[in-house]
Symmetry: D2
Subunit: 360 residues, 4 copies
């Protein structure tokens, strides 16, 4: 009810605040017999953590994950997997002055109204730090997808501000993405993006952008009509990411301007498999995967925390202004790439397991 659990069969329950003792998740419903080590989870956590390069936040978090349960002798036991990430570099003093002010673009005000009070240290529960748990759980989901069906998820920065990358998602590999410090595998666009981010940082301002994602080797049949359609669960998962403000599957918004005869993907037979000639629908029809790559895009608003002076009000309702001096990414989009992957993995893994009971 209180909204801290995600998934139906593969269920992730999250806890923690930015500057409390720890953040973490319990993963319930992971099948037994999956080989699993801390290192595999750590790998993805390291991709998300701050301070990876000059463009990102300088908060130093080792983000070291511990497995507290659910794994015995290197294999999952089928019981809940508790993952704990202690908060190390929690400089609460950075934030204390902010306890009484509503930061523009942040959840301070809405949390206050919802609960009557809030943990203001580093944004408390609303902090993007919480997504460390998402990424840790996602690492397990990815492994299941890989082991069971060789399903592969590749996300990448598709735009920063108005700079759009030109990317062939069909051939794109995870290595292509990771070889770019900004996780944009179009080198020309990537260079422009980096320059723009450097400039905006100097301007004490911030940028948004978009992330594209392609998922390969998805078997046909994943997704549950009528109320758990696969694209709907993906949309929800993506909008759960901090700063996300839009989602489109396949051609999405631009496809709404096409004619049916242009948009419809004709069925063909290739290598004895039914496929579609084009993939305008993004691999999902009627809420159910059709074995084509799943392709979607997510919009992110600009980082709300900026050093530039902004008008706002205090908790008491008095006018004031604020300049947020903390350690913030001027553009969080590159660091959101592994989070997009993780959330997509949670959705796919859940539906893969659900599909096991669809038919006698």
């Amino acid at each position: 009810m209180a909204g801290n659990t995600f998934g139906q069969i593969f269920r992730v329950t999250s806890f923690g605040e930015s500057h409390g003792p720890a953040v973490g998740v319990i993963v319930d419903g992971c099948p037994a017999q999956l080989p699993l080590t801390t290192d595999e989870i750590q790998l993805d956590l390291d991709r998300r953590k701050p301070g990876q390069n000059a463009l990102s936040s300088t908060r130093k978090e080792s983000d070291e994950v511990r497995i507290l349960s659910g794994v015995y002798q290197g294999k999952t036991t089928g019981t809940p997997i508790a993952l704990l990430i202690e908060n190390c570099d929690a400089r609460s003093q950075d934030y204390e002055q902010l306890a009484n002010i509503y930061r523009p673009g942040h959840a301070d005000f809405s949390y206050d109204r919802k609960y009557g009070h809030r943990d203001p240290r580093g944004g408390g529960r609303s902090s993007a730090r919480i997504t460390a748990g998402h990424v840790a759980a996602g690492a397990i989901a990815k492994k299941i997808l890989r082991v069971k069906n060789r399903i592969e998820i590749v996300a990448y920065v598709s735009s920063v501000s108005d700079i759009r990358a030109n990317i062939d998602s069909d051939t794109l590999s995870l290595a292509d993405v990771e070889s770019s410090p900004i996780r944009c595998p179009d080198p020309v666009a990537a260079e422009k993006m980096r320059a723009r981010i450097r400039k905006i940082k100097a301007d004490q301002d911030s940028l948004g952008g978009t992330i594209g994602c392609t998922i390969r080797n998805v078997p046909a049949g994943l997704g549950e009509p009528v109320f758990d359609k696969l694209e709907a669960d993906l949309a929800k998962a993506m909008l759960l990411i901090n700063a996300a403000s839009g989602f489109e599957i396949g051609l999405g918004f631009s496809g709404s301007a096409l004619r049916g005869s242009q948009y419809n993907d004709p069925f063909v037979v290739e290598d004895n498999q039914v496929r579609t000639q084009t993939n305008h629908c993004g691999g999902i029809q009627g809420g159910i995967s059709n074995a084509m790559p799943i392709q979607f895009r997510v919009a992110f608003k600009p980082t709300p925390s900026i050093a530039r002076q902004q008008e706002t009000v205090t908790r008491g309702g008095e006018k004031t202004s604020i300049s947020i001096q903390g350690r913030h990414d001027p553009c969080i989009v590159p660091r959101a790439v592994p989070i997009v992957e993780a959330m997509a993995a949670l959705v796919l893994c859940d539906h893969l397991l659900r599909q096991q009971t669809a038919s006698l």
Copy 2:
């Protein structure tokens, strides 16, 4: 698990196929003591039903709803409300020839792969006819929102193909929308849209478009971090609608090109209320409503059923072609307006009830 229930406290369970005996829903969790009549539900169903004007499908469905339980002497009893809509004009013969063919843009193939077989009559469970139940349940949700908080939901056609309406959503009323046969309250754009739809029909083709939605009088505090954020639940709800392919909250995709200093909504105090000066975030911050109007937009792909010849394959994997002669709307966007409202109402109503237990 099988995905036919929506909501946590206000729970809607859907059943039915396009050409089976009936479609319907069970609404569980509707509070007792709500005055409720069949007529109120019928009103919204009539707005959704086909055959309303020359531009829409000529399938004739009286779409008459019966309340089978949960209401006694004109008031809800707190027990499940079963709503039944019998299927009258079910010309199965229109579809029988299609049982063996995968219609492009439809769920025929993915259902087949998921379940091993499917009810092919009128698209079976994947038919938009199922949304009659959504609308009926939504009518109850809307009433709760109105009675408890005067919350008002207004959806409208914001574009058809590349024709965009120019609409001031702040002052828009439901009457404005309903006075337009195409549910676009910008008369100039509406006229262009109608002409374009007429033309596409003659072309045996179809169009997509977008729907905007604004929700007023939402109290601050609705939405549950971290995994049931309000915008995420809205995104899911919208992507559940047949043919929906995108969702954006507030500025959405276009906002991803702005700077933080442009995007952030400054807090101000007006009439002793904390408000934001602008509403770029669309009324939700950190997943929780901030008392500003909630504003979002949904993309719809063009109607997949077109009379024009299309290439496809049979169940057996043989090449064939198809011309779909049924009674289909060349542009379903106007008829999707009450469905967008209904799904938004389900989300809001659920979160309104959930909020009752957020604090001691």
Copy 3:
């Protein structure tokens, strides 16, 4: 939330009131490809329906079930199965006089306090009539259990008042039970029970009793620690039945007086299978089935509706007395036998499907 859905993967949502237009269920999560006809469901409904013999209520209900969805060409489609049973013999006038009185032993008062009002016709939602839907859903669950694992559920009257049957549950068949009009396969005890029930009816009073249940061919591994243990889900399912007041698994209460060395079931190997020599634990260890027959017992209080004069109060809080003249079973235990089977089937079927995702 409002408590009208049962099960996690095989989910049953119930609706209806005793004297409303209909009662029924939606079964969501039934795997596709299950052959299913109305007749199979009707068979179990006929075993539950009133008026089967001189000892039971004379309410005449044909209890005819209609399948409204989810079955196509004789096989389930994987989509929700809606089952509708119309109420025919709803003599509301029998009950109208009772609208203002709290019947002792009934839910009139507690419903009033929960919801502020209630449908008083025939007990409304609290009527045992609602269990017709349970039985209909249970018929589908039983079929799945039979088809997938030859699992067989046999329930029987083990006591009426203080008359206890002497039954060897190991060899007991459904036919044995059904050959007894009182569903007690110990002919000597059965005869005493019938005489006692006849006498109590003449006395304008009522009796309780107990039902035993044995479930065979259950594979090892069903049940989910820590919070969905199989015996706990069975306990819940049984206590949901109208008038149920107790549950015990295996030796239950009497076993609490034994020593560990007497109670523990030694493991042995028979026919290359690990089994237990005795079955004091009733086939479940640590919440998980161990492949031995599952055995439990359910207590039922005496029918609350009696013709004998009883003291009570009105809604307004005034003293009054009441004699309930309706058509009530002086002992509902025999008619509860198929309900016990049905509820057990729902639990087993759900856990059988859940077990499919327990391991890679």
Copy 4:
């Protein structure tokens, strides 16, 4: 799905194994603004922990709880409360020899069949150690019940082996129970029980027993028909406790031998309140509380771990025998008293919160 979450609005998710790094729970759905300290939770944990007296297990666990999230400045924030209890005295070597043997009366075999392998150290996930988390979560639930409605839960040992206590549950206080080392507030019976337990320990055997529970100040209206009846949820909660094998509400099994005219509780008016003269139904009618004290009883089988030699088989299916030398309570019933309270508190708290949305 995998069964490690309990509750609908007040949701407890459990993790941990007996000899892993830690056990714990996440409590989601606890309302904001509840004053909460570690000490309050520790109090109940100390009542559950082993080694409290000469009769119980000598495993030494400080059972120190840490609050990792969800509390800020001494008040709950409405976000998940993670509670961590590290395992200190985990002498795995006691158990290593048992990894290959199925202990009679334990879950070793059924876990093996469910998951393909298991953590054998101290019973792993099936250990009663896991209930430390239940008790910690229950402490929060109790506080909510107390703060919101002065609801009070008192459990007590009502029998050990065939020694039954004579207890007036109407006047019983928690202090009465706690003043007895064996948690049986009938001093004569308590003394007999202690002697019997001492003797059975010397005999290298074990005993079972029963626990009674009374819950006062429950408002009318808690419980959800048809599938979440209050007594059914209590039955499930109790059967989840390790070694529990039976549940009865009110008169339970013995009541099944009464006549309706004896069993029915007549309604009366006292102090302007509708009450029942007797309370044979145990405070719940039609699944909903009627404001009378809720009274139930739970049966526990004898502790399965005994030092006496027992016949069993190895994982490989070979005959062997076993004498379990670990530190085990010869009768766990006294230590189960706070667990019964905790589980009852979880059920009541969840239904108290659910009731908030029952009516407009």
